[in-house]
Subunit: 345 residues, 3 copies
């Protein structure tokens, strides 16, 4: 059911400090923790009596201690100590998952460990680049991850769902020129909204003279959608590559399957203008958060209605072109995995 041979965002790196953190990824309960600066992910179930290690477990030196009877596990899931006895049986271990810290993110792999190549983790240098500023948002959404992927691959919903926040003119969104491409194992959706009103969100960042040329460049791969958006004064060359002098946002949308009908959303939006302005930063953050909550409400309503109507079909529209390509890409990956096998961790 799940696409397992994939790197997913498990958490923001800053979330995992002294205390262990619980997540569920592709149906597996995991505990994330950090010992001596290095992060690790284990199955969140003590081998002794099933206690969730995340629920009050203590990190002590290089081990994670079970909060119930004190069994100690290292980063590889090996039990290193059982209180009250001198020996540790060889079967006393729990599953460990590859976990990589990069760009302020923790990436997890729950598929075949032999295929977990850190080199294939998407690089997102914006999180480490002093020319960009960003803040993290974490949400759990009660919907199949594919609904969130669809949402991000079809931005015509901005004019309806987000009309009070980042929206803009619905007709401009829907009528925008659009190109969908599938290349390099990713789906690319590019949209141009020429000569359109700047939305309230954009006005926070720049004093536009009037209408703007707006772009949306979406890049999808399983687990991550990136959206580069921005706008400059209309006719000043945005579509020819001249993108300075307006607003630019690099959106990072980590989409991680939690269960069949829930997912995690790790979101950041980096901007490269008016850096260090705390009040502006807060306003942009609040607007982004409000926007994400609008999406969450829509997605959860949609999911509930779909669960009430199993097996009933839908119609596709022109705006679905990106989402359909995205689903096709995921289906191919799942089919590949079924053929080659993904060892259950």
């Amino acid at each position: 059911m799940f696409l397992r041979n994939c790197w997913y965002v498990a958490a923001f790196a800053a979330e995992v400090a002294a205390q262990p953190v619980a997540r569920t990824v592709c149906g597996k309960a995991v505990v994330l923790f950090r010992t001596g600066g290095t992060v690790a992910a284990l199955e969140d179930r003590c081998i002794h009596r099933g206690m969730p290690l995340s629920q009050g477990g203590e990190v002590d030196g290089d081990i994670l201690r079970c909060p119930y009877h004190g069994l100690e596990f290292d980063r590889a899931g090996m039990c290193r100590k059982i209180p009250g006895q001198d020996y540790v049986p060889s079967g006393a271990r729990i599953a460990a998952f590859p976990l990589v810290e990069r760009n302020g993110l923790l990436w997890i792999w729950t598929g075949d460990p032999a295929r977990a190549d850190p080199a294939t983790i998407p690089e997102h240098h914006y999180h480490n680049d002093p020319r960009w500023e960003w803040r993290p948002v974490f949400l759990e959404i009660e919907c199949d991850w594919s609904l969130l992927n669809d949402n991000l691959l079809d931005l015509t919903h901005l004019g309806f769902v987000h009309k009070k926040t980042i929206g803009g003119d619905p007709a401009a969104h829907a009528g925008a020129e659009m190109k969908v491409e599938h290349r390099d194992g990713r789906v690319h959706v590019t949209r141009w909204l020429a000569n359109t009103e700047p939305p309230p969100f954009y006005r926070l960042g720049h004093a536009f003279k009037g209408k703007i040329d707006r772009w949306q460049e979406i890049e999808f791969r399983p687990g991550l959608v990136r959206i580069w958006t921005g706008g400059t004064d209309a006719g000043t060359g945005a579509y020819e590559g001249k993108r300075e002098g307006g607003v630019q946002f690099m959106g990072f949308h980590g989409v991680t399957p939690r269960t069949a009908h829930s997912c995690y959303y790790h979101f950041t939006q980096a901007r490269n203008f008016r850096l260090g302005e705390t009040e502006l930063d807060e306003r942009i953050h609040q607007a982004a958060f409000a926007t994400l909550l609008e999406d969450k409400a829509v997605l959860e309503g949609q999911q509930a209605r779909m669960l009430e109507n199993p097996g009933r079909g839908f119609i596709d529209i022109r705006a679905d072109a990106g989402g359909l390509q995205g689903r096709r890409l995921v289906e191919q990956c799942v089919a590949d995995e079924a053929r080659t096998g993904a060892a259950a961790a």
Copy 2:
């Protein structure tokens, strides 16, 4: 499972104004809305991606717009516009349900549309008659609608469940003379409580000299129970038709199946005395509301216990005569419907 070829109360007319309203009737999620003064009911699921139209959908002119991607539907459920494209495929429609506004109520039909004859909707002129005053109460009760029907057809529970509100003497209720008739497709239960104490609720309406002659005339058909109750000073002729000079209430109890184990209760109680007295009106309303909450608690407790004991039987008592006739009537209607068919809307 549901009796579908039946008019049910979907909402009070005043509930459906500028914003669409969500209900579930006989297991079907519907959205109620009003365009240009005319009400309509559609399936609450956009044909595009399943979004509930009621969740933020906008009425604009004569259409209802989906809150997610802006598809527009008319009162018949036909899609009239898909943003971003010029054509609308012929399959782009959602189910519409007959919905009739009458007497301040919206009546819905989820069965075979060909049998939806508005002439068979129960007339309730009290809602439009200046000689009567009423206020609406709407409750959702977590029980099979048949339990609420039973409740209304056997008023001996008043002395127990409602002893602090409209109750009166339990022995007088239980011992009351009772007649049960099945005629004209309805069940009629008539009860006379002669020479009994007026309950607190009645005292609000009239200064009785002492004991009263009290009547309860219940009329049941699927979807609606009406209860005409009242009392006059004992021995002054209530049972010979002389019903002025005391209190009279015309109770409207719309009982609408929601799911197999939940129902809607649309209640009004019209009175024809001391009209225009705001404080009295408020006191009667508060007492009625408290009474309905007592019923809700009982019915939900009963339903929970029944669900825990599937298949276990009960015993019938004398007071069940009306309720048993009511269940028989519903069973006949369901059997008729199974024979003649009710097109799924």
Copy 3:
């Protein structure tokens, strides 16, 4: 599934006064009530229409009256009156369960009534002895009762789960000398923690000079775990029987299966020192309550994780010796019951 031929604590006697009380024991909903000083337990489901008798039912003389239509039942479950009719059909009865009041507790039997011998109810004289003081605590825990039994039979968890309350040194707990015996139909676990730090809880009761000799004597039978704990100044003879001059607690842990995955916990802890000191009593009570809530959190986390992983095994450790004996004892009782039969009440 349940061990039914067993006396379980249904409630503290003081809980059942003028109002009936609802409990669920071994999956059966029961109503506990008291008429004329004598307690009784009936199935909590009126034979008429399934109403829970506990939900507003009234005790009147020697009957319990149904809150819906007023049917009256005696302590044996026989219906004695049906309002509105003169006769009561012979089938109008509901199941009654043996219920015995002893030592401030109500003990219930939901198995074969012929085997319900009150002589086998555990005597707990501490509740009636003026030399001991105790206060009741009642909790519902969302876990299989066997997890709570395990918890009480392996006190090495004190150093981890309760490190802030009654804990003490984890290594001392885990390394304590331990003896496990199965005799007289009970499991006995004895542990000696010699020359160890007194935990905060103990310091409330006595000004120890330094380290203490601590003992834990656990006695398990299905439905009841008793734990006699205490400590005296190290080397003053606790292990030779000289237990005065420190603190002593006699813990009563009634463990009653509620459903397959929930149980009741009726807890008291009698002490024999500093009697009548209200403030100390309150401090000990608060500490005990905090301790039980720590257990509840652990047990519910453990249960949730176990339900997510049906059929997956665990490893046993040295500290499980008592818990494993306890499970074996319960299994034997269940097997005996399957062979001899436990009439469903």
